[in-house]
Amino acid sequence: MPAPRTETEPALAGLWRVVVLNDPVNLMSYVVLVFRKVFGFDEPTARRHMLEVHEQGRSVVWTGLREKAEAYVFTLQQWHLTAVLEPDETR
């Protein structure tokens, strides 16, 4: 993925969520496989997130520091899932 930033930007500090949004095209089995591959989820966890995406339109699949969150979003986008970053404002 693109080289990370070289300086800390205050606006990007804090925790960020990696959110996967539903699309009507990608197969459920494909989404489960991608979640297992990218995050190392076991099958039931990957399936739970996939169903959340399918039924509720979105699932928060990871929360943490911005740089790693960006890496996850990039990888999910390589697999053609619609993934976005959101600041975690719950903490």
Partner: protein
């Protein structure tokens, strides 16, 4: 290395290849899935998109390489650890493009729920939908037989 050979029906698949190649050509300069990242500066955004595009193009190139002289002689394509991920991603990209470009008239509910009334589609859309289903079938085959190779890689 696990290898899966699939014998395809040449009379069914060969006519779909022109459409697949056209979708790949259209994808040459655009991403199949929406790309949006909050608070990304312009330079990083361009680099990000560029890397995604390079990967997408390479995956599509490897996918099209399946349909070589051997395929037209025997109808056989082969998947293994080396090409399974690329083919999976390329199929996803081409399916997304088909949906955006050729299957716009079908509702999300119908396409997601598998309740598309094929007989109600025009000839062009029918071919596009056949292609869409064919690519999904390849994905299912790879996931069924090579998932451990993909997860281990």
């Amino acid at each position: 290395m696990k290898r899966v050979e699939v014998k395809l029906s040449l009379p069914v698949v060969a006519p779909l290849l022109d459409l697949i190649k056209r979708m790949v050509d259209e994808l040459g300069g655009r991403l199949a899935a929406p790309h949006q990242v909050q608070d990304l500066d312009e330079e990083l955004n361009a680099a990000w998109k560029g890397e995604l595009l390079d990967g997408q193009n390479e995956d599509c190139r490897r996918f099209l390489a399946l349909f070589d002289r051997e395929f037209f002689a025997s109808g056989t394509v082969a998947f293994d650890d080396n090409n399974a991920e690329s083919v999976l991603r390329a199929c996803a990209a081409i399916r997304l493009r088909l949906r955006d470009r050729e299957l716009r008239g079908i509702t999300d509910e119908a396409i997601e729920g598998g309740s598309v009334d094929v007989t109600g589609l025009g000839e062009t859309a029918q071919r596009s939908f056949m292609c869409y289903v064919f690519l999904a079938t390849l994905q299912e085959l790879i996931i069924q037989h090579l998932d451990s190779a993909i997860l281990g890689g």
